[in-house]
Amino acid sequence: MKTEITDFKGNKRIKITGDIDMHTSPELREVLLSIIKKSKNQCVCVDFTDVTYIDSSGIATFVEGLKAIRASGSRLFFYGLPESIMEIFRFSRLDRVFEIFRTFEDAFGI
C-alpha cells in the first residue's frame, strides 16, 4: 500500500494505492490520524480509486479516523470507491455512516 498526500484549497487529499489489510492498516492509521490531528475545520478526503482490497482492519481504521475527526470539527469523506469495496461498506452498513461520493468533483461540488 502507498499513500500520497496533497493539498487542495486548504483541504487534504489522501490517495491510497494497493491493498489495505492487517499488514498495511497500522501505517494507514498513523497517516490518517496525524492528518486529522492537524486539521481544523478542514475536509480530509480519501481517494479510493486505486485501492485494490480492504479488509476489516482497514474499515476499522477509517472508523477510528471518523471518530477522531468528528471531535476536531473537520470532515472526512471518500470518493472513487470500486464496486467491490463499495459492496463491503454497504454490507457493514457503513455506507450510511461515511460521506461517500462518486468522484472528487462530486465531493467538492466543482
Binding site: 497500522p26 482492519s57 476499522a60 459492496e87 454490507f91 457493514s92
Partner: protein, 261 residues
Amino acid sequence: MEKAIEVENLVTHYGDREILKNISFSIPKGSITVILGGSGCGKSTLLKHLIGLLKPTSGRIIIKGNDITKMNEDQMNEIRKKMGILFQGAALLNSMTILDNVALPLHEHTKLKESTIEIMVRMKLDLVGLSGFDSFYPSQLSGGMKKRAGLARALALDPEMLFFDEPSAGLDPVTAAGLDELIIKLNKVFRMTIIVVTHELPSVFKIADYVIMLDKGYVIFSGTLNELKTSDNPRIRMFLERQPEEEKYSPDDYFKVIAGE
C-alpha cells in the same frame, strides 16, 4: 474452475480402522462446498485433515500449491491464518469475555492497535448478531449465541477460507436458517471459499453450490447441487429421501451376536 483445495488419494486410519479410503476430489475457490454424509462416514475426520489437525496415512492435500500434509506446525500455522474454523462446540475459552475470545487471533497474529482491534471485534459481533455482548462470558450465552460468537472469532482475521463443522447441530430451525443466510452473505460479499460439513439436508439445499458426498469412507459423489438432486446412485437417493439402512442382521445372526456365539 479455480481450485481452493485438492485432495489426492487420501487414506487415513484410527488405529487399524481405515476411515478415509483413498479419496480424491477438489473444492472450488469462492464457492460454498458442502461435505455431506451420514453419521460416522468420515466427514469430520476429513475436515480435520483439511485444516491440518490430523496427518493422513498417505495422500496429498494441496492448498495454494503446497502439500499441507508435509508441513510442520509453523508452516501450517501460516496457512491457518487464512482459515477460519467454527467447531461444533464453538470452542470458546470460558475464562475470557466474548470480546477477548474474538480478539484473541488478532492479538496473536497482527500488530494492530488495541483501539483498532476493539472496533474490528464489535464489527464481527454485529455481523453475527451479537452486538452488545462484548463483556459476556461464554457460560452466559445460549448454544446458538455461543456458535455465533465462535463464528465471529473464526472471522476475526478475515479468512479466505471458512470451515464449519456441523453448524446447525443443536440449533433450533430458525437460528439454523439464520446461520445459513449468514454463510451465503459471507460468500457473496467477501467471496470467501466456504466449506461446510453437515448432514442437515435443508441446509445443504439452501447453501450449497458444490457437494462432496462421503459414504463409508469413500467419495460417492462430487458435483453441483443440481447434479446431486438428479443423481440415480441408490446410496444418494437413500440419503436424500431419508430412507433407513436395511437391517444389518437376520434374526439368527442377531441372536449369535448377542449370545456371543
